[in-house]
Every structure is written in structure tokens, then in C-alpha cells.
């Protein structure tokens, strides 16, 4: 039987690491996606996502609303990934401009370029819109599931996704086309 997030958080705080594993397995894909949008490399995204889950474990006693664990860990992931990115900037000047280069080499050029352009645009969206779009189109959740997970109304979610899509379209320009 699937346990809800709040009970898993409470069990984790009681010392049950298996409960935390369940939370990690439940959200690892979405958290990884969040890191990937900001870092553009699978390797870095995996490291950052792991770091985020470890930090979330360490700060779990500060989580005010255990049922919104996902939203909270998402924000921790963003912070970890952004810090990571800024540190990279400082230590390796010029890396930022080519941060997607490693991924680019490994896939068919046109389709891959489109994917990377989209990822870069996604990374520029405000946090809440990026979160909603990821859940809706990458995690294939419906609005009811998203509302329950994030603790916000359908209307607010509609607004976030709608604004996010609009802003993405602006960032990508009208010339952006979907390639088969």
C-alpha cells in the first residue's frame, strides 16, 4: 500500500530510513529533472539531486507541512543546483556558455538542439511555473494530482501552467518548431 508523504516524513523523523527511501524513490525522477533543467548535464544533475535529498533529510525537522514534502524538496533542489551552477561559473569561466555541450555530443544534432533549447528556456522560467510544467508534461500528472501534491487550487495551477507555456513560447520565439 502506498503511504502518504506526511506519514513517510513522520516515520523518517522517527528514525525509519526505509520510509525516506520510499520518498526518494517516489520523487527521484522529478527532482532529477529539476536539477537537469538548471545544470544541463545528467551527471551533475544526479549529483545535485542526491545532494538535495541528503540536505532534505538533514533539514526534515524544519519542514512545517510534511504533506508538501515534494514542493519543499523541489525548492531545495533548485537552490542546490543554482549554487552548483554559480560555483561552476566561478571555478571554470566559460563553462556556463557551453554547459550543455557534453550532452550535445551524444545525440542526433537537430532533435537534440531542440531539446537543449527547450531546456535552457525552461531554466529561465520562474520556479513555480517550472515546477508545474515539469509535473504536468514530464511527470504526466493531471491537475488534481498536482493540486494535491503542491497544496494549491486548480485555478492557481492552470494559471501557472498557462503563464509558463506563454513565457516559454516568448523565450523560444515563434520560429521554434517541433521536429519529428
Amino acid at each position: 500500500m502506498a503511504h502518504d508523504d506526511a506519514s513517510l516524513v513522520k516515520r523518517t523523523l522517527g528514525g525509519d530510513t526505509a520510509a525516506y527511501r520510499e520518498l526518494v524513490e517516489r520523487y527521484q525522477r522529478a527532482v532529477f529533472s529539476c536539477a537537469y533543467q538548471l545544470l544541463g548535464s545528467r551527471h551533475d544533475a544526479e549529483e545535485a539531486a542526491q545532494e538535495a535529498f541528503v540536505q532534505a533529510f538533514e533539514k526534515l525537522d524544519r519542514l512545517r507541512e510534511p504533506r508538501y514534502f515534494f514542493s519543499w524538496v523541489w525548492r531545495i533542489t533548485s537552490t542546490v543546483a543554482l549554487k552548483w551552477r554559480l560555483k561552476q561559473r566561478r571555478s571554470e569561466l566559460g563553462l556556463e556558455a557551453d554547459m550543455f555541450a557534453r550532452e550535445r555530443e551524444q545525440a542526433p544534432v537537430e532533435r537534440e538542439e531542440q531539446r537543449l533549447t527547450l531546456l535552457q528556456a525552461l531554466a529561465q522560467l520562474p520556479e513555480e511555473q517550472r515546477e508545474a510544467i515539469t509535473l504536468r508534461f514530464w511527470e504526466e500528472m493531471d491537475y488534481a494530482q498536482m493540486g494535491k501534491l503542491l497544496g494549491i487550487s486548480h485555478d492557481a495551477l492552470y494559471q501557472r501552467v498557462s503563464r509558463g507555456l506563454k513565457q516559454l513560447r516568448e523565450l523560444l520565439g515563434q520560429d521554434f518548431v517541433v521536429r519529428e
Binding site: 530510513t17 545528467r42 507555456l165
Partner: protein, 325 residues
């Protein structure tokens, strides 16, 4: 069948592109890696571990990293060590006995005997899930000698709201062991020295957290916890902002930063720009700034190290163009 919202239909090609860019999940041993890291640092054994085969590449890599430079801290450690298993039934029996004794003792007598005072509307003790306020914290990363003085580099800095002069408590095994004072600060690190007498010497991995929470730290901690992209309280520039009636106002400027490489202070970017407390930021790099989110977006888009920053501010009723020197 569920209806597709009209805005999704309107952006159908974009939605399709998004669905196609859907990522494959992380490595299949990802969760093992997280639990291994937590186990390694906290000594907590996962119930599932015994039923799992030996960790794969990610897990081993993470284990090696953690064992080398452990960075974790158990959530429950702050509130005391975990009780051994035998303690639970014994503790339960003692608690039940006490409860019965209290129930059958008139409240007034009990208070008089215990010397306790009745406090009207005494608030309930804070729950573990409802801390009073977020707290920036970090760890000692290295011990160095600067000018013949023993100093401790910690992995929290401007982003966490630390400033020169702040006093931190350092802890080992969940117990307070002494105090450190910040003598230099950079974006992600600070250099400190021990203050007062302590029987023990701070060591790498010891936990540090502020002894007194300043408004800047509170704000930084909230920024970090909320996942804001604001780079902590100072935007990587050395400024703290607040929303004012005319726009976003500079509330604080950190003038000097410390460079971890040679420990020499250098002027912050805010200082090089000539920003002053009370300035209202109107534009950055030629783009209009109406909110903190605008500024964040502009700063995140450029490479801060390779860009000469420019800003337009409103000071004493006049617009001023500032250029980083």
C-alpha cells in the same frame, strides 16, 4: 475522459515538444546512493539495505565522497541521540507511572511542591515540525593559519547571510563546544576564529550555526528554504533588498568580501558599483527592474564574472547611472 485545458491546446506544439524532451530518470541505483550517504554519515541502517545487493557505481561514488568529506547531519541529532530499543518499553512504563501520579495529585499541590510557576497562556513547546524560524548553518571545512593565527574556514557565507563580526556556535556530536567569530566572508564561505575559551579545538566537519539570528540571516535562510533564485540575501553582489513604494530598495550593503584563495579583503561588487543604502534600483544592465524577480532574472542570465555591471538607481529624488569600477 478528462478535457484538455484550452491553453494547452493553444500551445499544442510546445506541449508536444515538452513531452518529447521528457527525461529518462536518474541511475537506477539513485535511491541507494542517497540512503548510503545518509547511512554513512548518520550511522542509521536502512531496513531495506540488508535485502539489497551491493551498491552500484553511484552508491560507491557517493559513499567514497561522503567518507572523505562528510557533509550531513541527522535531523534528530539536534534533539538528542536516539534511544536504544530497550529504553522504549521502560520509558513508556515510567511515563505511564508519572501520568498516573500527576492525575491523582491536586494540581496546586504539585505546582507548589515542584516550585513551578503558573504562566497564563503558556505556549506549547515547539513541535519538531514547527521550528521557530529557519536557521542558516554550515560546517567547518578546513583549519588554516592566517598570519600566525589559527582560523577555521566554514562553508556558509554571504549567501547564508553571514557578515564580518557575526558570532557562531560550533557543535560536535550535537553538543555545543564553543564560539567562533566571523572575520572574513565571501559568497559561499567565511573565515572565523575561535572566541573565548574552549576545551576542544574545532575540527573539519564540526557543525556551526549562528549564536544570534540577525534579520539578514533570517531572510537568507528563508530565501534558501523557499528555493528562491536570489543567491541568498545578497545576490552575489553584496546587497540586501526590500520592496519599497517606489520599487526595490537597497537595505544593506556589504562593502568588503574575503577571497578564500589568499584571505585578503576586496571590495564587493555593490561597493564597486557605488550602491548606497536607500537607493531604489530602477534598471540593471540596461533592463528595467520593477521587482526582485526582475533583478534575479537579469543577473542569472549573465556571467557575473565576465560582465561589467551597470545600474540605474534613484537616489535623493535623482536618477543616477552607476557603473562598476
Amino acid at each position: 475522459m478528462k478535457k484538455t485545458p484550452p491553453f494547452e491546446k493553444e500551445h499544442a506544439t510546445l506541449v508536444e515538444a515538452l513531452r518529447r524532451t521528457r527525461l529518462k530518470g536518474p541511475d537506477e541505483r539513485f535511491a541507494d546512493g542517497v540512503i548510503d550517504r545518509i547511512d554513512a554519515e548518520h550511522g542509521v541502517r536502512s531496513e531495506l539495505e540488508s535485502s539489497q545487493p551491493e551498491g552500484g557505481n553511484v552508491a560507491s561514488r557517493v559513499m567514497a565522497r561522503i567518507r572523505g568529506d562528510g557533509t550531513s547531519r541527522a535531523p534528530s541529532r539536534k534533539h538528542g541521540r536516539r534511544a536504544p530499543r530497550w529504553f522504549l518499553p521502560l520509558g513508556g512504563a515510567i511515563a505511564a507511572g508519572l501520568a498516573i501520579a500527576v492525575l491523582f495529585t491536586p494540581m496546586r499541590d504539585w505546582l507548589r511542591d515542584s516550585g513551578a510557576q503558573v504562566v497564563p497562556n503558556d505556549p506549547a513547546p515547539p513541535s519538531a515540525l514547527q521550528p521557530a524560524s529557519p536557521m542558516p548553518s554550515g560546517q567547518i571545512r578546513s583549519v588554516r593559519d592566517f598570519g600566525g593565527e589559527r582560523c577555521y574556514v566554514i562553508d556558509a557565507g554571504l549567501v547564508e547571510g553571514l557578515r564580518v563580526g557575526d558570532v557562531l556556535a560550533w557543535e560536535r556530536d550535537g553538543q555545543r563546544a564553543g564560539q567562533l567569530r566571523v572575520i572574513g566572508v565571501s559568497a559561499y564561505a567565511a573565515i572565523t576564529r575561535q572566541e573565548g575559551r574552549s576545551e576542544r579545538e574545532p575540527q573539519p566537519r564540526d557543525h556551526v550555526e549562528p549564536l544570534f539570528l540577525t534579520d539578514v540571516m533570517r531572510r537568507a535562510a528563508k530565501e534558501i528554504e523557499s528555493g528562491s533564485q536570489a543567491r541568498g540575501a545578497f545576490y552575489g553582489l553584496g546587497i540586501m533588498l526590500a520592496r519599497g513604494t517606489d520599487g526595490i530598495v537597497v537595505m544593506d550593503v556589504v562593502r568588503e568580501l574575503w577571497r578564500p584563495e589568499d584571505s585578503a579583503p576586496e571590495p564587493s561588487r555593490a561597493s564597486r558599483l557605488g550602491l548606497e543604502v536607500g537607493d531604489v534600483i530602477r534598471a540593471a544592465l540596461g533592463e528595467r527592474v520593477a521587482s526582485e524577480a526582475d533583478l534575479e532574472r537579469i543577473l542569472l542570465r549573465v556571467d557575473p564574472d565576465a560582465t561589467v555591471l551597470t545600474m540605474t538607481v534613484l537616489r535623493d529624488g535623482h536618477e543616477l547611472a552607476l557603473t562598476e569600477r
